[in-house]
């Protein structure tokens, strides 16, 4: 291997090792340390400079105290479960909202489609924080939605939506909608129209042709879209902290508070390690599905 090529590989490699992998090892290490009222607020239990003796020493005092603590305190269990629940429900809702839009786009006249595509991508480039903030004004008690509903006479007194889980669902559906629409649209767009014609010639109505042909063929896009919404929703922090209430438990928010408010770094690190363990399953499944998809397209 010539030196130039080695350099080309080494620079990004070293960068990622130093700023991605090493930080994880540190998180893992701190999650196994004890809390200390000092700066930094933990006792390092691994002394690398002591070499082999240090490692032995470390293994002997290795303690999973913080992990045991996570299982004992209700808060963490509930936070993990409710993050899972919120992520699952909002992924499903995003699919319900996103599919018809993707379907409509795929069936729109050819000359509209670049514009529609741009309209879907545009919110993605707009600040996430601003898009979440926009809902704060809409969902509050004297907000736009309540004013509108009161005006139509559908309700007689304002609904409390802001600072509840409902607001969190709305926020996740709204901000992650483009991630659901785009993969579904790209599979629907490639769909061979003659299949639907064949189905109709063979006696299907349009609706049954949709259920029997379009829907099964759009499966790869639906699965990709669901993963793209579910994975980031699980560790979401901004949406629950701005739209959710004090009883909205999401693990990203718990980690943040554990770190910034309680200054309990070892527990925050342990929460991070468990969250990662939780995410590995969907991430690996997603990767497999993407690989299968690429194989199929070859």
């Amino acid at each position: 291997m010539n030196p130039r090529k080695a350099l080309l590989i080494l620079v990004p490699y070293m960068w990622l090792l130093a700023l991605f992998l090493v930080p994880f090892v540190i998180v893992l290490k701190i999650s196994l340390s004890d809390v200390e009222l000092a700066i930094p607020p933990y006792t390092p239990t691994l002394d690398i400079s002591a070499g082999w003796a240090g490692l032995k020493d470390f293994l002997s005092q290795l303690d999973f105290e913080n992990y045991v603590w996570l299982t004992q305190d209700d808060l963490y269990w509930k936070a993990y479960l409710s993050s899972l629940q919120i992520a699952v429900v909002s992924t499903f809702l995003t699919l319900l909202v996103g599919f018809p839009i993707a379907y409509g786009m795929a069936n729109a006249p050819d000359e509209w489609r670049p514009t529609l595509m741009m309209l879907v991508i545009l919110p993605f480039w707009t600040s996430f924080l601003i898009r979440v903030y926009a809902w704060m004004g809409i969902l509050s008690n004297e907000g736009f939605l309540n004013q509108f509903l009161l005006w139509t006479g559908l309700i007689s007194e304002p609904l409390t939506i802001l600072n509840t889980n409902t607001a969190v669902y709305i926020g996740i559906v709204y901000t992650y909608l483009p991630f659901m629409i785009l993969p579904i649209y790209s599979t629907l767009e490639k769909l061979d129209g003659s299949l639907l014609e064949a189905a109709e010639d063979l006696g299907c109505t349009r609706t049954t042709a949709f259920w029997l042909v379009t829907l099964p063929l759009s499966r790869p896009g639906v699965i990709a879209g669901c993963f793209l919404v579910f994975i980031p929703a699980l560790g979401e922090f901004v949406i629950p902290s701005l739209l959710g209430g004090s009883d909205t438990l999401m693990i990203g928010k718990v980690l943040w508070e554990e770190f910034f408010s309680n200054r309990d770094w070892p527990v925050a690190s342990a929460v991070a390690v468990v969250l990662l363990a939780l995410l590995i399953i969907p991430i690996v499944l997603f990767q497999r599905q993407q690989e299968r998809q690429q194989e199929a397209e070859k």
Partner: protein, 272 residues
């Protein structure tokens, strides 16, 4: 078979209304006279004036811009290198680990990335400030750049590059004169993506920022936590407009570039 049935029309109308009405309401209320964001009290641009006089916001905007330019430029260079390694590097020791480290940050929750980087900076005794935010942003956005650039690298004809090498170019010249012009659109979109990600990021910046390096999202978040304010609406409106103009301009430009390319190819075919 394209059919715009009533169902499609309805779902498109409602879908795009859902995507755009919230932002529209946000923009409308930035011109509201009243301090109450939800009650209309007449047209006024006074919140824009307040915003321009608010030095904390201006400082934060300046910090954000510096971070975004520095980190997206570094991320584009590193990401393009990484893409080149992934697509053209062949086999080398630790390739699986390398590709894992490229893809993992894309799906990593921001809280974890932020926490781990902060713990690293503390462990090595690096003072937190603009520099640490740049390091953090470069790390996660280089992965996005690398994905964008490698998809372009995969699809292009390698023989052109080999021809340049056969005709006496050094590998670097071949890259600069042949490869780079071809992958340039992807490199530019990678840069834009990295730039936007950096402008947007709240969570990772909150972990890695020091007391004197507040970025705009951190500033917005801390004031929004206390409730809605028309000044934030004004700020959001400005940011939405910049993004809209940028996205529309780039899409028009790329459409023109594609059309020009098609024309040139056609002309070349006719000449031949």
């Amino acid at each position: 078979m394209r059919r715009l049935t009533w169902f499609n029309t309805v779902s498109l109308t409602f879908g795009f209304a859902f995507l755009y009405v919230p932002m529209l309401i946000l923009i409308i209320f930035s011109f509201n006279e009243s301090k109450l964001v939800t009650v209309w009290a007449g047209f006024s641009t006074k919140w824009y004036g307040e915003l321009i006089r608010n030095e904390a916001f201006l400082d934060a905007a300046w910090v954000t811009l510096k971070v975004a330019v520095a980190s997206s430029t570094a991320a584009t260079i590193l990401g393009t290198m990484a893409a080149h390694v992934m697509v053209r590097g062949g086999r080398f020791f630790g390739r699986t680990l390398f590709s894992g480290m490229i893809y993992a940050p894309l799906v990593m929750p921001e809280v974890i990335t932020g926490l781990s980087l902060l713990l690293l900076f503390i462990a090595i005794g690096l003072d937190r400030g603009v520099f640490t935010i740049v390091l953090a942003h470069t790390t996660f956005s280089m992965c996005y750049v690398s994905v964008v650039v490698s998809s372009r690298l995969v699809s292009f004809d390698r023989s052109v590059e080999e021809a340049a090498l056969d005709l006496g170019c050094t590998p670097f010249e071949a890259f600069r004169l042949v490869t780079l012009p071809i992958i340039l659109p992807a490199v530019i979109s990678g840069w834009l993506l990295a730039f936007t990600l950096s402008l947007d990021d709240l969570v990772i910046a909150s972990f890695t920022a020091g007391p004197s390096s507040t970025t705009l999202p951190i500033k917005i978040f801390s004031s929004v936590r206390l409730g809605v304010s028309p000044e934030i609406n004004a700020l959001s409106t400005i940011m939405i407009c910049i993004v809209a103009v940028g996205v529309i301009a780039t899409s028009v430009m790329s459409k023109r570039a594609i059309a020009r390319q098609a024309r040139e190819e056609k002309a070349a075919m006719q000449a031949a």
